[in-house]
């Protein structure tokens, strides 16, 4: 128990305390104070996380047990925090990126009332707390607490501006979609408890031989359902683009540091289970790939700056699932990390643009912002280059690692993945061109209002830009630099069992360096062409009033998926609800309840007449009743 890592409880505890302070004291605290507390605790958590990280790097992994959460004869669930390579890395991402987003929010949300400002920070802190709980939990139950917590916080934050009803709809949509996934997760946990009687990672993974292939496949598929909901994969991805209704820092937090990476983390954590279920793995790969491709096509024609980024997140998450599906767990975690950097950067940059535009989100009304907002412009450009996979920016390495693994597993995966990468480059530079290049297309007031954002906004942008550029250098492929893939080496203990197992399952055919170079060259050159094309085409974008037709219209309308869900799920449920409301509730249930009342009322009105005050009539009744009793006694 005397391990230095026993103090890790402070990491989630500090945000929780800040949540309570900001939440309960929201009427007393000034904006400065609540912003200071809110960001300060995350910074403190980040510093502890760095300490923890270096402890883990020196080989000190630890499961900290605090108290028994559930303690029955057959099931014992401890309140445990597991600190190892995987969770320490996630801790850094969550608290680090989370801290920058908190700092950014102090400026971005400055126009709110002090009360709402403090409430916002309380929610943000709760969000970070839940996510920390999720990654630190030493068993599936603790993870599930955090899992539900992030779902709740996403609801609260997406619907933060609750006076606009469409925001509430988006919040509810996110919550319900997540609930569908959570249900799968919960069933998987029950299955584990039923078969193994434990939910501790360590016990589950060491007793895995006791599970049949059917059990493992079932559990992993159910876990994957959970991941689909949380990480916005087909078919439950529609909540994520709608989640753009929340304030921009929230979008950044959901997309980069917390929430959507939960599914990736959970599968990476359970890697051994998934490696032993080949069917589930190939399903994950296919769904991930389909999502990546599908979301990228939608992003091509969106005009809302945040919607493009949202679909790009869905698409990038698809890549991560592809990586998990082909067994490249390190690649998935690597991409989570680089994605956290560049997506936080892009969202915060978009937030800076929206801030300058006075709330305008439609890219058709932007353009030419380059000369007004130089820092935002430069950092955003770096972010776009990163997501497009240009070397030597971060996503180049992580995406390349995933695509190489995909090629090893199945060249078709690689082909689709690489086409998606081209589309990514295209839509990101369409976004860039429409926003920063060309002439300004907004109104005169907006043009007058344009300004570079304050330092609380630009500073996080600069830091994130540095990370987005350099963050990939911890995972340089072996062929460029010997021992360059330090992330792989760092995460080795977590994934070693899976790697051994998959090595014995599949005939290993290492890619030759020439193949690897070719693959890399194809993806970079293709992305570069797409990038240049988009740059040229949308650099001089003019507003056109012509109606889009054919496939462009379908893309602009997101393939009508929302309408499709509306027609096959929402409408029937609403009509059933309407039927239950107007017929079953009003007629049957109300009728029955009111009927009982009426019957009692009526009968008592009648029976009351029996009590007429005449003693002799009472007597008569008594005698008659006695006689009847006698008769019953005698003859029945």
């Amino acid at each position: 128990m005397n391990n230095t890592l026993q103090i890790v409880w402070l990491i989630p505890f500090l945000p929780l305390i800040s949540f309570l302070i900001n939440g309960l004291g929201r009427n007393q605290l000034s904006k400065t104070l609540s912003g200071f507390i809110g960001s300060g605790v995350i910074l403190a958590s980040f510093l502890i996380s760095i300490f923890v990280f270096f402890q883990v790097k020196n080989g000190n992994t630890h499961v900290a047990h605090y108290f028994d959460f559930i303690n029955t004869a057959t099931l014992k669930v401890g309140f445990d925090f597991q600190i190892d390579q995987l969770s320490s890395l996630f801790l850094l991402i969550i608290t680090g990126v989370g801290f920058l987003i908190h700092v950014y929010s102090t400026s971005y949300m400055h126009e709110e009332e002090p009360k709402d400002f403090a409430k916002f920070f309380a929610y943000l802190n709760l969000f970070v707390f839940s996510m920390l709980l999720l990654v630190m939990g030493g068993n599936y139950i603790i993870m599930f607490i955090g899992w539900e917590g992030v779902g709740l916080c996403s609801y609260l934050l997406i619907g933060f501006w609750f006076k606009d009803n469409s925001n509430n709809d988006a919040a509810r949509k996110a919550f319900i979609m997540n609930r569908i996934g959570d249900f799968g997760f919960l069933l998987a946990v029950f299955w584990l408890v039923a078969k193994l009687g434990t939910t501790d990672y360590h016990d589950v993974f060491s007793n895995i031989d006791k599970l049949s292939l059917f059990d493992i496949t079932g559990i992993t598929l159910l876990l994957f359902v959970g991941a689909i909901g949380k990480s916005a994969q087909i078919p439950l991805y529609t909540w994520l683009p709608d989640a753009m209704a929340g304030p921009t820092p929230v979008s950044a937090l959901i997309h980069a540091a917390t929430m959507v990476t939960a599914g990736i983390y959970m599968i990476a954590r359970s890697n051994i289970l998934f490696t032993m279920a080949p069917f589930a793995q190939s399903l994950i790969a296919v769904i991930g790939l389909a999502t990546a491709f599908f979301a990228a096509t939608i992003a091509l024609k969106q005009n809302d700056i945040k919607k493009v980024l949202a679909y790009s997140t869905v698409s990038q998450l698809g890549y991560m699932f592809l990586a998990l599906g082909v067994g490249a767990y390190t690649g998935a975690v690597f991409h989570v990390m680089t994605h956290a950097f560049f997506k936080a950067l892009l969202f915060l940059g978009a937030g800076s643009v929206i801030h300058a535009m006075g709330g305008e989100q439609d890219m058709r009304n932007m353009g030419g912002l380059k000369k007004y907002m130089s820092i935002t412009h430069i950092t955003f450009l770096l972010g776009c280059l990163t997501i497009a996979g240009m070397p030597p920016f971060a996503a180049f390495f992580s995406k390349d690692q995933i695509l190489a693994k995909a090629f090893e597993s199945n060249p078709v995966y690689w082909a689709v993945g690489v086409i998606t990468a081209f589309m990514t480059a295209f839509y990101m530079f369409r976004l860039y061109g429409m926003t920063f290049l060309g002439k300004f297309r907004g109104t005169h007031e907006q043009e007058h209002h344009l300004h570079e954002s304050p330092s609380a906004i630009t500073l996080p942008l600069i830091i994130l830009a540095v990370l987005a550029v350099a963050g990939g250098w911890i995972g340089i492929p072996e062929m460029f630099m010997h021992g360059g893939d330090r992330l792989e080496a760092f995460l080795e203990p977590v994934f070693s069992k899976s790697n051994e197992l998959s090595a014995s399952l599949h005939a290993q055919h290492e890619l030759s360096h020439t193949t690897e170079y070719t693959l890399m060259a194809v993806s970079v050159i293709g992305a570069l062409i797409a990038l240049m094309y988009a740059w040229n085409k949308y650099g001089k974008y003019q507003k056109s009033t012509t109606e889009e037709t054919g496939i462009r219209k379908a893309l602009a309308n997101k393939w009508y998926v929302d309408e499709f869900y509306d027609a096959i799920i929402v409408k029937p449920i609403q009509s059933i609800a309407g039927f239950l409301n107007s017929i079953v509730e009003k007629k049957a249930i109300d009728g029955f309840v009111n009927g009982v009342g009426k019957a009692v009322n009526y009968s008592s009105r009648q029976i009351r007449l029996l009590q007429n005050g005449q003693v002799s009539s009472y007597m008569l009744l008594m005698v008659v009743a006695t006689l009847i009793l006698f008769i019953i006694q005698l003859f029945l």
């Binding site: 009590q611 007429n612 005050g613 003693v615 002799s616």
Partner: protein, 107 residues
């Protein structure tokens, strides 16, 4: 003497009592009829105890029921004193002993 005579006598007395209570309105008559029912029951008690213990050689056989009857009589006497007092009060208030006047509980 067979028990039947006693039973029929008691039955007749009881029925007279019941009918008297039901049809008369004079409180004192009703009161007397109640006493009549009470004594019909007493009569049965004594008769049954005598028949029941006829074969017993104990000198005190059947006396328990008779003691019981005495008790009932004592209680009835006490009850009569209370009942009559009530009727007197009733007469003072309403100048009538017709029970049908006493329907003020209605409404």
């Amino acid at each position: 003497m067979p028990i039947n005579y006693y039973i029929f006598l008691a039955l007749a007395l009881f029925s007279i009592g019941v009918i008297g209570v039901l049809i008369r309105r004079n409180a004192i008559i009703i009161f007397m009829c109640i006493e009549l029912m009470l004594n019909a029951a007493n009569l049965l008690l004594v008769a049954f105890s005598k028949i029941h213990t006829a074969t017993s050689s104990l000198p005190t056989a059947g006396s328990d029921a008779q003691i019981f009857v005495f008790f009932i009589m004592v209680v009835a006497a006490a009850e009569v004193s209370v009942g009559l007092a009530i009727i007197v009060m009733m007469y003072r208030n309403t100048h009538s002993i017709d029970v049908n006047f006493l329907n003020r509980l209605k409404n």
